[in-house]
């Protein structure tokens, strides 16, 4: 009863449908016995984590798939208790330090030291080292990244790091230079079609190319999204009849569109006040502020005159940067909207 996206997730490097050369390189790396620190980066839905897990399996065998989740408690210097969820197997441990915001440094220091200082005790293990996977590495604070630097070199014997990020731009250079950078590009349309057809075959039906096309456009190179949309579509119209298939937009996207429309409809301070309420709602429901800003800006750009488009994009970028630098995101989104209104 899983969703297709999970049901047909590849488990070994061999099963991966695309980036075959990458797969083979990973395989040889795993076999070499000199496994480096790796930084996987690429857009969301390109298959980074899937690939990481496949690599681990290649390293350790099926044992890595015996996952368990733990909740670890860390204490910050200011005596604050932090709960961090840790996914681990006997051979690796996976954490998302950015869950705890600015305290991620504590987590990194504590966990890495702990792991680095214990040797592999399982004699059956294929490798002497354990692997630490750090998710959302690009969301790590600079402090946390700095904390990684020395550890990476010092404990090379006992531990390898696999960082997983969307982009390397927010990862400090010292870290980048210590890692093997592996770019997992988004699949091309052909590759995605291949995957979709594979899934369709497993589910025992055939996918019309028109439907495949509309899935591809909706998914924007995100295979996860593509598969989810695919399944949703299948649920809506089991036979994929009618060439023109409306892809259901997620709730937050329609909401962002509404916000953009109301901005275009009227430009007053009062309206800005109303828009603020809606943005608050989006943000508080865990839609990342960047996504909100981007979606709104795109929608506005779609609708305004050509002359205004570059300006809007420019300001969107301007405020997006400020948003990343600042702490209170909505201030910047609001400033952007005020600018657009003006």
């Amino acid at each position: 009863m899983s969703l297709w996206v999970d049901k047909y997730r590849p488990r070994t490097l061999d099963e991966l449908h695309y980036h075959a050369d990458l797969s083979s390189r990973l395989r040889s790396l795993a076999a070499s016995g000199d496994f480096p620190h790796i930084l996987f980066y690429g857009p969301s839905g390109a298959g980074k984590k899937t690939r990481i897990m496949c690599t681990l399996r290649e390293l350790y065998g099926p044992g890595v798939e015996k996952l368990r989740i733990d909740q670890r408690v860390f204490v910050t210097p200011s005596n604050r208790k932090l709960d961090v969820n840790v996914v681990q197997s006997n051979y690796h441990i996976e954490l998302t330090p950015s869950d705890v915001g600015i305290y991620d440094r504590v987590v990194i220091q504590d966990i890495l030291k702990e792991i680095a200082q214990t040797q592999q005790v399982d004699l059956n293990a294929k490798q002497r080292f354990k692997v630490v996977i750090i998710n959302e590495a690009d969301a790590l604070t600079r402090d946390a990244q700095a904390a990684l630097r020395r550890t990476m070199e010092k404990y090379m014997n006992n531990m390898r790091l696999i960082l997983c990020a969307n982009s390397t731009s927010k990862i400090i250079a010292p870290i980048r230079s210590r890692c093997l950078l592996v770019r997992v590009a988004a699949p091309t349309d052909d590759e995605m079609t291949k995957v979709l057809n594979h899934v369709a075959k497993k589910e025992r039906f055939s996918l019309p190319s028109a439907a495949a096309q509309s899935i591809l456009t909706a998914s924007e190179g995100n295979l996860r999204k593509a598969l989810l949309v695919f399944e949703a579509m299948k649920m809506q119209k089991p036979d994929f009849s009618g060439g023109d298939i409306e892809v259901a937009k997620p709730d937050w996207e329609t909401y962002c569109a509404k916000v953009a429309d109301s901005i275009l409809q009227e430009q007053t301070a009062q309206r800005l006040l109303e828009v603020r309420g809606k943005i608050y709602e989006l943000l508080s429901h865990c839609i990342p502020p960047t996504v909100v800003l981007k979606t709104i800006a795109e929608r506005i750009v779609d609708k305004v005159d050509d002359a205004l488009k570059p300006q809007i994009v420019h300001w969107a970028a301007h405020y997006e940067l400020r948003m990343r630098m600042g702490a209170k995101k909505i201030f910047h989104i609001e400033a952007f909207i005020a600018k657009v209104m003006m």
Binding site: M1, E65, L228, R276, Y280, S284, C286, A327, F331
Partner: protein
């Protein structure tokens, strides 16, 4: 009003007027000149009349009427002119050059209205008052008579009619009024000299003057006042209709007539509108008066009143309020006068409407600076009302009724400038003398007492000589102790409560004997204790001690410096061993002590600072309450705030007595006598200011003064202000008031005296909150700087301002990040203050805009905080969901939210809304697959927005489905991805309970594999998987299942 000779001013006035005339005559049409070959003398006279008109018009001022009179008469008949007038003239003079000419047509329109009322006096004087000025006499009287007669009749009719038909149609009136106008015109046409016409018209209008003059100089200016605001209100409509006459400053005669018509006709036509009506209504009465005698004129006044009452029927309160909040129109446009010290002594002022250059506060301060008094509403004692634009209707009516003198802002300034310091009438002088005498007397008394004490002290000193105990001499004492009141008379304010307290103490013994059953006259008889509450420094403790002594009790005081916990209160007062009670039975054999003081029947317990019984005094209030219920001596409890939660128990057992802050008047004489005694010279108005500045805290005033005495022996107004400011309690303002202050309508107006530093200071009151408030608020104002714009332009400008403000706030956030981030650049705080608070405020300051929500007025609490914590909460829930799904899903939090959730919602939420109970099974299957529990499902729903939002979804799912879902879910066991800390602890305990378990963790671990997993979907793929999963995915049914598992094993 004290009278003075207006000579100086008169002469000035006359000299001025010719000049003006010249220019005027040049200005307007020569046609008139042609028409009427007016003789030279006449001409001269005419100009004077015109001049006056222009005058009134220009200033939109009433009082100018006096100028003409005086000018024409040269002090002959018009003795009754008052100081006021003279002052007014001067003011007018001043104004003339500056204002009259440059003024736009609008002002002129208003002038016209004003002039209708004001102009006449001159001619009237000449005709009625037997003292015709030489030149005008020739021409004016002739024509005057006919016109004035004809007009009066009709006008009178009109006015009377109006009276009758207060609400009725305007048409009739219109007709009637038109008639007289026509007549006049015809007169003009028939060849009566144009000048004559003017004079007539003026006479008609001026008719008002004599009557007023006769009735009272006050009323004259009054009525004029009334006219003015109205006329100002609707200048626009007027302007349109009769532009030409208005533009010409002082109109030639024919035009003048025309204007008259206009004035009569237009307003009437427009009668349906509230304001024009009033203006027109105003007109007739003066006309009538012209013909009538003074008596009639007096009768007229009530009519005026009636007419006026009509006017305020539809006042535009909102607009008025908005205008008021918008502050003075031309802040700082006029020089603030410097007058002789005390020049306003004994005078009482009322301000109404908006002054042109002064804010209300500034104006009031100005009056106080010169020892004047300011009251809120006009009353019989008010000496002057300073009337600004858009004055309140009710105030105007009151002024009229009470015949209070009015003045404009300019007149007010001039008044200050010209008035000598010691102009007091006899009564005031006497009052002052009496006061001084009293002060001296009191001071003498103080001195006497001090001497006595000194003697006493010396005696004691002598007695104590050698013991080493020294007593401080009186001079070394604090003023507050030195001058503490010694008897009831000396207590400032709160006389009534203090007296009641005394009475209660006197009756206490009687009440005690009757078992506190008889309430007595004031209901205090049933209480064993009194709770006095009130702000600090107003003499609560002093009064309590004093009254206790006066009633013959011996006060025992316990205050915050004594520990008063439950235990101590009980022990020290012997509640438990009942010795307090027992004392009386034992007739003094076993005495009781409180705080080591012997208690006898004449003791009185004063518990000071009861609300200070806090942390250290746990249970103190409760114990105190018990004590109160049993006490056999009177108890006086004192606190600052009796509404506190911890004071609740005392509410029912004590009589509540509230002390209020005494007013400056109540304190003044006491302070003055102390000052006299201390040889410190401070004028009364400064003392008042001090008292006001510290909120009537007598103690603080005395402390301030005693410190001040160390450096100086005199204090003037400014020093006083400074002292107050220095001693200002460093109160932390609430963010709400700060935002109000920062973005108020004139927070950044040109005459605002606050510096950047002052504003930043506001930010520092609470630098973590204020920026949030600012961000919340900046969209909710109507920026003052946009007041002059309207329509789309205003909107555009507004957006521009808002955008700038938003940018600034955004800058502020970046700075904030540097401060609170890893860099900890706290030195940037001032920059943050400017960027996040002051600059946005400077852009968008203005009156608040109602945002339509509940409680739309006033700054609201920043949403950001609430939203942020909501975000935090949902974020946590999302993390929970993500980590549970992690075993199946690779996505991060954001990916889960953005991509999985909409899809998953279609599987586990929407089916419930569409198919109801049928979908429950399926939903639960999916949830198990992703290791989601029921709470996760709730969180899942909560995370939705738009059509998936919490409220919409939960409405769509029928209750039956929900219960079925919950039931079904609870019925079966579910795989759980992992145990959270708390869950783990719980199950651990359970296991421990079940039996001896040497190592809980181990036991627990081993339990896992036993129960058959309901969710073994994976194993169809691979063997290995199966094995591993058994061990590591804890598919545990928390309680029963775990136990079962163990049992099996």
């Amino acid at each position: 009003m004290p009278s003075s000779t207006p000579n100086k001013s008169t002469t000035r006035g006359t000299t001025d007027s010719p000049k003006k005339n010249l220019s005027q005559s040049q200005n307007h049409g020569q046609s008139q000149e042609k028409k009427k070959p007016a003789p030279a003398p006449k001409k001269e006279e005419k100009p004077a009349g015109r001049d006056i008109r222009g005058f009134f018009g220009a200033g939109a001022a009433k009082p100018s009427s006096s100028t003409p009179t005086s000018a024409s008469k040269n002090g002959s008949g018009k003795k009754p002119i008052t100081i006021d007038d003279s002052d007014d003239e001067e003011v007018v003079k001043d104004r003339k050059p500056a204002l009259s000419k440059p003024l736009s047509s609008t002002t002129r329109t208003s002038k016209h209205f004003a002039s209708s009322a004001t102009r006449k006096p001159i001619i009237l004087d000449s005709s009625d008052e037997d003292v015709p000025p030489p030149q005008p006499a020739v021409s004016s009287p002739k024509i005057l008579t006919p016109t004035s007669r004809s007009k009066p009749s009709s006008a009178a009719a009109a006015s009377s009619k109006r009276k009758a038909l207060v609400d009725s149609e305007s048409e009739e009136e219109e007709a009637e009024i038109i008639k007289p106008a026509k007549k006049r015109q015809s007169i003009a046409g028939t060849g009566a000299r144009a000048s004559a016409t003017t004079t007539t018209t003026t006479t008609n209008r001026g008719g008002k003057k004599p009557s007023y003059a006769e009735s009272e100089s006050d009323s004259e200016s009054l009525s004029e006042e009334d006219v003015k605001p109205k006329s100002k209100a609707k200048p626009t409509s007027k302007k349109k209709k009769s532009p030409s006459p208005m533009d010409v400053d002082v109109d030639s005669e024919p035009e003048d007539d025309f204007i008259d018509d206009d004035e009569d006709d237009l307003p009437n036509k427009a009668k349906s509108k509230a304001k024009p009506k009033a203006a027109s209504a105003k007109k007739p009465p003066p006309a009538k008066k012209a013909g009538s005698t003074g008596k009639e004129a007096k009768k007229e006044e009530p009519e005026d009143g009636v007419v006026e009452k009509k006017k305020p029927s539809n006042p535009n309160w909102r607009a008025a309020a908005a205008a008021r909040s918008a502050g003075p129109k031309n802040p700082g446009s006029k020089e603030i006068p410097e007058g002789a010290p005390d020049c306003l002594a004994g005078l009482t002022f009322v301000f109404t409407g908006e002054l042109e250059s002064l804010g209300r506060d500034e104006a009031q301060e100005l009056v106080k600076r010169y020892s004047g008094k300011v009251t809120g509403a006009p009353s019989g004692r008010t000496s002057f009302v300073v009337v600004g634009e858009n004055a309140g209707a009710s105030k105007l009516a009151k002024i009229k009724e009470k015949k209070i003198a009015t003045m404009t802002e300019d007149e007010f300034f001039e008044f200050i400038r010209s008035r000598r310091g010691d102009q007091l009438d006899e009564k005031q002088v006497k009052a002052r003398e009496a006061e001084e005498k009293k002060i001296q007397q009191q001071a003498a008394e103080l001195e006497k007492r001090e001497k006595e004490e000194e003697r006493d002290r010396k005696r004691k000193e002598r007695a104590l000589e050698g013991t080493g105990i020294a007593q401080a001499p009186a001079s070394a004492q604090l003023w507050t102790t030195k001058y503490a009141p010694q008897n009831l008379k000396e207590i400032c304010g709160n006389k009534a409560p203090v007296e009641r307290l005394g009475q209660w103490l006197k009756d206490w013994w009687v009440n005690y004997q009757s078992g506190f059953k008889k309430p007595g006259k004031d209901g205090m008889g049933i209480y064993r204790a009194v709770l006095i509450s009130g702000p600090p420094g107003i003499g609560k403790t002093t009064s309590a001690h004093l009254m206790a002594k006066e009633a013959g009790y011996k006060p025992i005081e316990l205050n915050a410096s004594d520990a008063r916990s439950k235990k101590l209160v009980e022990n020290s007062t012997n509640i438990d061993n009942a010795s307090l009670d027992g004392f009386f039975q034992g007739s003094g054999i076993q005495s009781t002590t409180v705080a080591d003081v012997r208690v006898d029947s004449r003791s009185c317990l004063i518990m000071d600072e009861v609300d200070g019984m806090s942390a250290g005094d746990r249970g103190g209030v409760g114990a105190l309450n018990v004590l109160i219920k049993k006490t056999r001596i009177p108890m006086i409890l004192i606190c600052n705030d009796r509404s506190l939660q911890k004071m609740k128990p005392l509410q029912s057992t004590t009589f509540n007595m509230t002390f209020r802050r005494p007013g400056p008047a109540e304190i003044r004489s006491r302070i003055m006598s102390i000052l006299f005694k201390e040889k410190l010279k401070i004028p009364a108005n400064v003392v008042d200011e001090l008292v006001k500045g510290v909120n009537s805290d007598i103690r603080q005033v005395l402390n301030m003064l005693s410190t001040f005495k160390l450096s100086k022996d005199q204090m003037d107004f400014d020093e006083g202000k400074e002292l107050v400011k220095l001693n200002e309690k460093n109160t932390i303002m609430t963010p709400f008031t700060i935002i109000d202050k920062l973005t108020g309508p004139y927070a950044f107006s040109k005459n605002s005296k606050e510096t950047l530093g002052d504003r930043m200071e506001l930010y520092f009151h609470d630098f973590s909150f204020i920026p949030l408030f600012m961000q919340e608020h900046y969209l909710k104002t109507n920026p003052t700087s946009l007041n002059t714009l309207s329509g789309p332009e205003q909107n555009l400008k507004h957006l521009e301002l808002v955008s700038k403000a938003a940018d600034s706030i955004s800058d502020g956030d970046l700075i904030d990040r540097m401060i609170h981030g890893s860099e900890q650049q706290w030195s940037l705080l001032p920059v943050h203050a400017v960027a996040s608070t002051v600059r946005p405020a400077s852009l968008i300051y203005g009156s608040m805009r109602s945002t339509g929500g509940p409680g739309g007025w006033g700054p609201s609490f920043p949403q950001w905080l609430g939203q942020n914590s909501k975000m935090g909460k949902l974020q946590r829930q999302l993390t929970d969901i993500q980590i549970r799904m992690r075993l199946r899903v690779s996505g991060s939090r954001a990916e889960i939210r953005e991509q999985y959730m909409p899809m998953l919602a279609a599987k586990i939420v929407l089916p419930l809304t569409q198919r109801g109970t049928d979908a429950v099974e399926e939903t639960i299957e999916y949830m198990d697959e992703y290791f989601l529990g029921k709470e996760d499902w709730d969180a899942f729903v909560e995370l939705g927005v738009d059509t998936m939002s919490d409220s919409i979804i939960s409405k769509k799912i029928p209750t039956a489905t929900k219960t079925a879902f919950t039931k079904q879910y609870n019925k079966s066991d579910h795989p759980i991805a992992f145990h959270k800390g708390d869950m783990f602890a719980a199950s651990k305990k359970k296991i421990a309970d079940d039996g001896p378990a040497p190592d809980n963790e181990e036991v627990f671990e081993e339990d896992e594999p036993v129960p058959d997993e309901p969710s073994e979907k994976e194993d169809d793929d691979e063997e290995v998987n199966n094995v591993t999963k058994d061990k590591l995915i804890k598919a545990v049914k928390p309680k029963g299942a775990a136990a079962k598992g163990r049992a099996k094993k």
